[in-house]
Protein backbone atom coordinates (compact mmCIF):
# COMPACT_ATOMS: atom_id res chain seq x y z
CA UNK A 1 0.00 0.00 0.00
CA UNK A 2 2.88 2.34 0.85
CA UNK A 3 4.40 1.64 -2.55
CA UNK A 4 1.13 2.55 -4.30
CA UNK A 5 0.86 5.79 -2.35
CA UNK A 6 4.46 6.66 -3.18
CA UNK A 7 3.82 6.15 -6.87
CA UNK A 8 0.69 8.31 -6.80
CA UNK A 9 2.42 11.02 -4.78
CA UNK A 10 5.33 11.27 -7.18
CA UNK A 11 3.06 11.03 -10.19
CA UNK A 12 0.94 13.92 -9.00
CA UNK A 13 3.87 16.16 -8.26
CA UNK A 14 3.39 17.67 -11.73
CA UNK A 15 7.08 17.79 -12.37
CA UNK A 16 8.29 18.13 -15.92
CA UNK A 17 11.66 17.18 -17.26
CA UNK A 18 11.80 19.64 -20.13
CA UNK A 19 10.62 23.19 -20.74
CA UNK A 20 9.94 24.81 -24.09
CA UNK A 21 12.98 26.69 -25.46
CA UNK A 22 12.50 30.44 -25.66
CA UNK A 23 14.02 30.94 -29.10
CA UNK A 24 14.76 27.62 -30.75
CA UNK A 25 16.69 27.61 -33.97
CA UNK A 26 15.16 24.41 -35.30
CA UNK A 27 11.97 22.45 -34.74
CA UNK A 28 11.64 18.85 -35.87
CA UNK A 29 8.31 17.04 -35.90
CA UNK A 30 8.91 13.46 -34.85
CA UNK A 31 6.52 10.59 -35.45
CA UNK A 32 6.36 7.77 -32.91
CA UNK A 33 7.03 9.76 -29.75
CA UNK A 34 4.42 8.66 -27.27
CA UNK A 35 6.04 8.36 -23.86
CA UNK A 36 8.64 10.21 -21.79
CA UNK A 37 11.11 7.31 -21.54
CA UNK A 38 11.37 7.12 -25.33
CA UNK A 39 12.11 10.84 -25.51
CA UNK A 40 15.52 10.30 -23.92
CA UNK A 41 16.77 8.32 -26.89
CA UNK A 42 15.97 11.04 -29.39
CA UNK A 43 17.36 13.71 -27.12
CA UNK A 44 20.61 11.77 -26.84
CA UNK A 45 20.97 11.52 -30.63
CA UNK A 46 20.29 15.22 -31.07
CA UNK A 47 22.82 16.17 -28.39
CA UNK A 48 25.47 14.39 -30.47
CA UNK A 49 24.91 16.84 -33.33
CA UNK A 50 27.95 19.06 -33.55
CA UNK A 51 27.02 22.54 -32.42
CA UNK A 52 23.82 21.60 -30.59
CA UNK A 53 23.61 23.68 -27.41
CA UNK A 54 20.17 22.82 -26.08
CA UNK A 55 17.65 20.14 -26.99
CA UNK A 56 14.10 19.97 -25.70
CA UNK A 57 11.40 17.41 -26.40
CA UNK A 58 7.78 18.60 -26.38
CA UNK A 59 5.88 15.36 -26.12
CA UNK A 60 2.30 16.35 -26.87
CA UNK A 61 3.31 18.40 -29.89
CA UNK A 62 5.69 15.70 -31.05
CA UNK A 63 8.43 18.31 -31.45
CA UNK A 64 12.14 18.38 -30.82
CA UNK A 65 13.48 21.90 -30.38
CA UNK A 66 17.14 22.62 -30.95
CA UNK A 67 19.22 25.65 -30.08
CA UNK A 68 22.56 25.78 -31.86
CA UNK A 69 25.74 27.33 -30.53
CA UNK A 70 26.56 30.69 -32.03
CA UNK A 71 28.32 30.39 -35.35
CA UNK A 72 27.48 26.72 -35.91
CA UNK A 73 25.31 25.22 -38.62
CA UNK A 74 23.66 21.89 -39.33
CA UNK A 75 22.19 20.27 -42.41
CA UNK A 76 18.69 18.95 -42.76
CA UNK A 77 20.13 15.53 -43.57
CA UNK A 78 22.01 15.48 -40.28
CA UNK A 79 18.83 16.25 -38.36
CA UNK A 80 16.87 13.55 -40.17
CA UNK A 81 19.68 11.09 -39.48
CA UNK A 82 19.43 11.80 -35.76
CA UNK A 83 15.72 11.03 -35.79
CA UNK A 84 16.27 7.81 -37.71
CA UNK A 85 19.07 6.67 -35.39
CA UNK A 86 16.70 7.18 -32.50
CA UNK A 87 14.24 4.76 -34.08
CA UNK A 88 11.63 7.34 -35.07
CA UNK A 89 10.46 9.17 -38.17
CA UNK A 90 10.74 12.80 -39.31
CA UNK A 91 7.32 14.20 -40.11
CA UNK A 92 8.40 17.79 -40.59
CA UNK A 93 11.39 20.06 -40.14
CA UNK A 94 11.65 23.84 -39.80
CA UNK A 95 14.69 26.09 -39.52
CA UNK A 96 13.39 28.99 -37.46
CA UNK A 97 16.79 30.63 -37.77
CA UNK A 98 18.19 30.41 -41.28
CA UNK A 99 21.66 31.31 -40.02
CA UNK A 100 22.06 27.81 -38.60
CA UNK A 101 21.08 26.05 -41.78
CA UNK A 102 23.88 24.43 -43.75
CA UNK A 103 23.38 23.16 -47.26
CA UNK A 104 23.44 19.40 -47.56
CA UNK A 105 26.03 19.72 -50.31
CA UNK A 106 28.43 21.49 -47.97
CA UNK A 107 28.21 18.83 -45.21
Amino acid sequence: MAVVLLFVAVGTSNAQDDKRLEKPDIEVEVGGLACPFCAYGIEKRFRKIEGAESVTVLLEEGLVQVKMKKGTRVTEARLRKAVKEAGFETRGLRFLNEDVKADDASS
Binding site: F7, V8, Q16, G31, G32, I42, E60, K84
Partner: protein
Protein backbone atom coordinates in the same frame (compact mmCIF):
# COMPACT_ATOMS: atom_id res chain seq x y z
CA UNK B 1 29.95 -32.10 8.86
CA UNK B 2 27.40 -34.77 9.73
CA UNK B 3 26.42 -36.87 6.74
CA UNK B 4 22.73 -36.43 5.91
CA UNK B 5 20.47 -39.42 6.35
CA UNK B 6 20.42 -41.07 2.93
CA UNK B 7 16.83 -42.19 3.40
CA UNK B 8 15.76 -38.61 3.92
CA UNK B 9 17.63 -37.52 0.83
CA UNK B 10 15.93 -40.16 -1.31
CA UNK B 11 12.50 -39.38 0.11
CA UNK B 12 13.17 -35.71 -0.44
CA UNK B 13 14.15 -36.27 -4.05
CA UNK B 14 10.97 -38.22 -4.70
CA UNK B 15 8.56 -36.01 -2.78
CA UNK B 16 9.87 -32.80 -4.22
CA UNK B 17 7.87 -33.74 -7.27
CA UNK B 18 9.13 -31.09 -9.44
CA UNK B 19 9.67 -27.41 -9.04
CA UNK B 20 7.07 -26.28 -11.59
CA UNK B 21 9.34 -24.03 -13.52
CA UNK B 22 12.92 -22.96 -13.34
CA UNK B 23 13.27 -19.45 -12.11
CA UNK B 24 14.18 -17.97 -15.42
CA UNK B 25 14.86 -14.36 -14.80
CA UNK B 26 12.43 -13.09 -17.40
CA UNK B 27 10.80 -9.72 -17.39
CA UNK B 28 7.02 -10.12 -17.13
CA UNK B 29 6.63 -9.19 -20.73
CA UNK B 30 8.67 -7.98 -23.66
CA UNK B 31 8.21 -4.70 -25.46
CA UNK B 32 9.08 -3.61 -28.98
CA UNK B 33 9.67 0.00 -28.03
CA UNK B 34 12.62 1.43 -29.96
CA UNK B 35 16.05 1.60 -28.39
CA UNK B 36 18.09 4.34 -30.02
CA UNK B 37 21.45 3.64 -31.61
CA UNK B 38 24.02 3.73 -28.84
CA UNK B 39 21.40 3.98 -26.11
CA UNK B 40 21.55 1.74 -23.09
CA UNK B 41 18.88 0.77 -20.61
CA UNK B 42 19.66 -0.86 -17.28
CA UNK B 43 16.81 -2.60 -15.50
CA UNK B 44 17.00 -4.13 -12.06
CA UNK B 45 14.12 -6.08 -10.59
CA UNK B 46 13.27 -7.66 -7.31
CA UNK B 47 10.94 -10.64 -7.62
CA UNK B 48 9.63 -13.13 -5.11
CA UNK B 49 8.22 -16.09 -7.07
CA UNK B 50 7.43 -19.19 -5.11
CA UNK B 51 5.52 -22.41 -5.28
CA UNK B 52 3.88 -24.83 -2.89
CA UNK B 53 2.40 -28.29 -2.83
CA UNK B 54 1.45 -31.29 -0.72
CA UNK B 55 3.44 -32.46 2.32
CA UNK B 56 4.14 -28.87 3.24
CA UNK B 57 6.43 -28.44 0.25
CA UNK B 58 7.23 -24.83 -0.31
CA UNK B 59 9.83 -23.12 -2.46
CA UNK B 60 10.55 -19.44 -1.96
CA UNK B 61 12.79 -17.46 -4.24
CA UNK B 62 14.16 -13.99 -4.13
CA UNK B 63 15.28 -13.17 -7.64
CA UNK B 64 17.20 -10.10 -8.72
CA UNK B 65 17.43 -10.07 -12.51
CA UNK B 66 19.74 -7.42 -13.89
CA UNK B 67 18.85 -6.55 -17.44
CA UNK B 68 21.00 -4.62 -19.87
CA UNK B 69 19.62 -3.46 -23.20
CA UNK B 70 21.69 -1.79 -25.89
CA UNK B 71 20.68 -0.28 -29.21
CA UNK B 72 23.06 -1.58 -31.87
CA UNK B 73 21.22 0.41 -34.50
CA UNK B 74 17.74 1.87 -34.89
CA UNK B 75 16.23 -1.56 -35.60
CA UNK B 76 18.47 -3.99 -33.72
CA UNK B 77 18.72 -4.18 -29.95
CA UNK B 78 20.70 -6.60 -27.79
CA UNK B 79 19.38 -7.85 -24.45
CA UNK B 80 21.06 -9.60 -21.58
CA UNK B 81 19.57 -10.82 -18.29
CA UNK B 82 21.79 -11.89 -15.42
CA UNK B 83 19.78 -13.22 -12.47
CA UNK B 84 20.91 -13.64 -8.91
CA UNK B 85 18.71 -16.01 -6.94
CA UNK B 86 18.25 -16.88 -3.31
CA UNK B 87 16.18 -20.02 -2.95
CA UNK B 88 14.90 -22.00 -0.01
CA UNK B 89 12.81 -25.11 0.13
CA UNK B 90 10.82 -26.57 3.02
CA UNK B 91 8.95 -29.80 3.33
CA UNK B 92 7.60 -32.17 5.94
CA UNK B 93 9.01 -35.67 6.04
CA UNK B 94 8.57 -38.61 8.43
CA UNK B 95 11.91 -37.56 9.89
CA UNK B 96 10.75 -34.00 10.50
CA UNK B 97 10.85 -30.73 8.61
CA UNK B 98 13.52 -30.41 5.96
CA UNK B 99 14.94 -27.05 5.00
CA UNK B 100 17.24 -26.55 2.06
CA UNK B 101 18.65 -23.35 0.65
CA UNK B 102 20.90 -22.11 -2.10
CA UNK B 103 21.98 -18.73 -3.47
CA UNK B 104 23.95 -17.55 -6.43
CA UNK B 105 23.93 -16.80 -10.10
CA UNK B 106 21.29 -18.54 -12.19
CA UNK B 107 21.33 -19.03 -15.97
CA UNK B 108 21.94 -15.95 -18.11
CA UNK B 109 19.78 -15.03 -21.09
CA UNK B 110 21.06 -13.22 -24.18
CA UNK B 111 18.99 -12.30 -27.19
CA UNK B 112 18.62 -9.96 -30.15
CA UNK B 113 15.45 -8.18 -31.21
CA UNK B 114 15.05 -6.79 -34.74
CA UNK B 115 12.23 -4.49 -35.82
CA UNK B 116 10.75 -5.66 -39.10
CA UNK B 117 7.71 -3.39 -39.18
CA UNK B 118 7.16 0.09 -37.84
CA UNK B 119 4.55 2.75 -38.19
CA UNK B 120 5.01 6.18 -36.64
CA UNK B 121 2.34 8.80 -36.17
CA UNK B 122 1.92 11.86 -34.03
CA UNK B 123 1.81 10.56 -30.49
CA UNK B 124 1.63 6.91 -31.51
CA UNK B 125 3.78 4.07 -32.74
CA UNK B 126 3.45 0.46 -33.81
CA UNK B 127 6.30 -2.03 -33.92
CA UNK B 128 6.69 -5.68 -34.71
CA UNK B 129 9.97 -7.40 -33.92
CA UNK B 130 11.09 -11.03 -33.91
CA UNK B 131 13.62 -12.07 -31.32
CA UNK B 132 16.01 -14.97 -30.86
CA UNK B 133 18.46 -15.89 -28.16
CA UNK B 134 19.88 -18.44 -25.83
CA UNK B 135 19.88 -19.19 -22.12
CA UNK B 136 23.43 -19.88 -21.02
CA UNK B 137 24.35 -22.38 -18.31
CA UNK B 138 25.93 -19.87 -15.93
CA UNK B 139 23.99 -21.24 -12.97
CA UNK B 140 25.41 -24.07 -10.93
CA UNK B 141 24.06 -27.60 -11.24
CA UNK B 142 26.09 -28.87 -8.28
CA UNK B 143 25.11 -26.46 -5.53
CA UNK B 144 25.00 -27.70 -1.96
CA UNK B 145 23.95 -26.61 1.49
CA UNK B 146 24.32 -27.91 5.08
CA UNK B 147 22.77 -31.21 4.00
CA UNK B 148 25.05 -31.72 1.03
CA UNK B 149 24.29 -31.45 -2.66
CA UNK B 150 20.79 -30.26 -3.48
CA UNK B 151 18.46 -32.25 -5.73
CA UNK B 152 18.64 -31.49 -9.41
CA UNK B 153 15.35 -29.63 -9.43
CA UNK B 154 16.49 -27.14 -6.80
CA UNK B 155 19.72 -26.23 -8.54
CA UNK B 156 20.05 -22.71 -9.94
CA UNK B 157 21.21 -23.77 -13.40
CA UNK B 158 19.99 -26.12 -16.09
CA UNK B 159 23.45 -27.07 -17.32
CA UNK B 160 22.43 -26.78 -20.95
CA UNK B 161 22.37 -24.17 -23.69
CA UNK B 162 18.68 -23.50 -24.29
CA UNK B 163 17.67 -21.53 -27.38
CA UNK B 164 14.48 -19.53 -27.66
CA UNK B 165 12.65 -17.62 -30.36
CA UNK B 166 9.64 -15.37 -30.45
CA UNK B 167 8.19 -12.08 -31.45
CA UNK B 168 6.93 -8.96 -29.79
CA UNK B 169 4.30 -6.46 -30.94
CA UNK B 170 3.78 -3.02 -29.44
CA UNK B 171 1.21 -0.34 -30.05
CA UNK B 172 1.68 2.79 -28.00
CA UNK B 173 -0.29 6.02 -27.73
CA UNK B 174 -0.19 8.85 -25.26
CA UNK B 175 -3.07 7.42 -23.26
CA UNK B 176 -2.42 3.67 -23.45
CA UNK B 177 -0.17 0.90 -24.68
CA UNK B 178 -0.41 -2.78 -25.56
CA UNK B 179 2.46 -5.25 -25.83
CA UNK B 180 2.02 -8.81 -27.04
CA UNK B 181 4.89 -11.26 -27.01
CA UNK B 182 5.15 -14.97 -27.69
CA UNK B 183 8.28 -16.98 -26.92
CA UNK B 184 9.18 -20.65 -27.27
CA UNK B 185 12.17 -22.08 -25.44
CA UNK B 186 13.62 -25.49 -26.31
CA UNK B 187 15.43 -26.84 -23.26
CA UNK B 188 18.37 -29.09 -23.91
CA UNK B 189 19.50 -32.19 -22.13
CA UNK B 190 22.38 -32.03 -19.66
CA UNK B 191 23.75 -35.14 -17.94
CA UNK B 192 20.63 -37.13 -18.83
CA UNK B 193 18.25 -34.53 -17.42
CA UNK B 194 16.12 -32.20 -19.50
CA UNK B 195 13.67 -29.57 -18.36
CA UNK B 196 10.47 -29.44 -20.39
CA UNK B 197 10.19 -26.91 -23.19
CA UNK B 198 8.45 -23.64 -22.38
CA UNK B 199 5.81 -21.85 -24.47
CA UNK B 200 4.50 -18.53 -23.32
CA UNK B 201 2.21 -15.78 -24.46
CA UNK B 202 2.39 -12.46 -22.63
CA UNK B 203 -0.03 -9.61 -23.06
CA UNK B 204 0.53 -6.32 -21.29
CA UNK B 205 -1.74 -3.32 -21.28
CA UNK B 206 -1.52 0.00 -19.55
CA UNK B 207 -3.46 3.22 -19.38
CA UNK B 208 -2.18 6.60 -18.33
CA UNK B 209 -3.64 7.81 -15.05
CA UNK B 210 -1.64 11.02 -14.75
CA UNK B 211 -1.35 13.64 -15.99
CA UNK B 212 -4.94 13.88 -17.16
CA UNK B 213 -3.94 16.35 -19.87
CA UNK B 214 -0.43 16.51 -21.24
CA UNK B 215 0.34 20.16 -21.64
CA UNK B 216 3.69 21.40 -22.82
CA UNK B 217 7.10 19.92 -22.08
CA UNK B 218 7.86 16.38 -21.00
CA UNK B 219 5.72 15.36 -18.04
CA UNK B 220 6.06 12.19 -16.01
CA UNK B 221 3.46 9.52 -16.69
CA UNK B 222 1.75 7.37 -14.09
CA UNK B 223 0.30 4.24 -15.64
CA UNK B 224 -1.99 1.53 -14.32
CA UNK B 225 -0.85 -1.78 -15.77
CA UNK B 226 -2.55 -5.09 -16.26
CA UNK B 227 -0.48 -7.94 -17.66
CA UNK B 228 -1.32 -11.54 -18.30
CA UNK B 229 1.07 -14.46 -18.81
CA UNK B 230 0.01 -17.78 -20.29
CA UNK B 231 2.75 -20.36 -19.75
CA UNK B 232 2.83 -23.95 -20.85
CA UNK B 233 5.56 -26.16 -19.38
CA UNK B 234 6.28 -29.51 -20.97
CA UNK B 235 7.21 -32.40 -18.71
CA UNK B 236 10.79 -32.92 -17.63
CA UNK B 237 12.74 -35.95 -18.77
CA UNK B 238 15.45 -38.06 -17.20
CA UNK B 239 17.01 -40.16 -19.91
CA UNK B 240 14.07 -41.74 -21.72
CA UNK B 241 11.72 -41.38 -18.79
CA UNK B 242 9.18 -38.57 -18.69
CA UNK B 243 8.41 -37.22 -15.23
CA UNK B 244 4.62 -37.39 -14.87
CA UNK B 245 4.78 -35.04 -11.89
CA UNK B 246 6.24 -32.14 -13.80
CA UNK B 247 5.09 -29.43 -16.13
CA UNK B 248 1.64 -27.99 -16.57
CA UNK B 249 -0.14 -24.80 -17.47
CA UNK B 250 -0.20 -21.50 -15.63
CA UNK B 251 -2.18 -18.35 -16.25
CA UNK B 252 -0.92 -15.33 -14.34
CA UNK B 253 -2.46 -11.89 -14.12
CA UNK B 254 -0.34 -9.03 -12.89
CA UNK B 255 -1.86 -5.69 -11.93
CA UNK B 256 0.66 -2.95 -11.32
CA UNK B 257 1.72 0.66 -11.42
CA UNK B 258 4.40 2.30 -13.50
CA UNK B 259 5.92 5.75 -13.09
CA UNK B 260 7.72 6.85 -16.25
CA UNK B 261 10.00 9.84 -16.69
CA UNK B 262 12.60 10.67 -19.30
CA UNK B 263 15.48 8.88 -17.57
CA UNK B 264 13.88 6.56 -15.05
CA UNK B 265 11.00 4.12 -14.73
CA UNK B 266 9.74 2.75 -11.42
CA UNK B 267 7.27 -0.10 -11.50
CA UNK B 268 5.63 -2.55 -9.18
CA UNK B 269 3.25 -5.44 -9.72
CA UNK B 270 1.73 -8.49 -8.14
CA UNK B 271 1.89 -11.57 -10.33
CA UNK B 272 -1.10 -13.69 -9.33
CA UNK B 273 -1.73 -17.25 -10.54
CA UNK B 274 -5.30 -17.12 -11.81
CA UNK B 275 -5.41 -20.63 -13.26
CA UNK B 276 -2.98 -23.46 -12.62
CA UNK B 277 -3.17 -26.94 -14.06
CA UNK B 278 -0.03 -28.70 -12.94
CA UNK B 279 0.68 -32.32 -13.72
CA UNK B 280 0.56 -34.84 -10.89
CA UNK B 281 2.20 -33.59 -7.71
CA UNK B 282 4.07 -30.76 -9.37
CA UNK B 283 4.28 -27.64 -7.20
CA UNK B 284 1.77 -24.86 -7.83
CA UNK B 285 3.01 -21.29 -8.25
CA UNK B 286 2.24 -18.68 -5.60
CA UNK B 287 1.70 -14.96 -5.95
CA UNK B 288 4.89 -13.03 -6.62
CA UNK B 289 5.72 -9.44 -5.77
CA UNK B 290 7.75 -7.47 -8.31
CA UNK B 291 9.60 -4.20 -7.83
CA UNK B 292 11.62 -2.80 -10.68
CA UNK B 293 13.48 0.21 -11.94
CA UNK B 294 14.87 1.12 -15.35
CA UNK B 295 17.42 3.79 -16.18
CA UNK B 296 18.26 5.26 -19.57
CA UNK B 297 21.88 6.03 -20.31
Amino acid sequence: MRRPDLTVVIVLAILIGVFPFRVAAQITTQTALPVSTGQGILRIQLKSPGASGSNGREVNNLVVPMVLIYGLNHRLAAFGVVPVVSRNFDMNTPAGKIERDLSGLADTRLWLRYTIYQHNGKGMLTRLAPLAGVELPTGSTTGSDHMGRLPRLLQLGSGGWDPFVGFVFTHQRFAWQVDISAVYQANSEYKSFQFGDISRLDIASKIRLLPRTLGSGLPRFLYANLETNLIDLARNRTGNQTDADSGGFIWFVAPGLQLVSRRVVFETALQIPLVTDMNGTALEPDTAFILSTRVNF
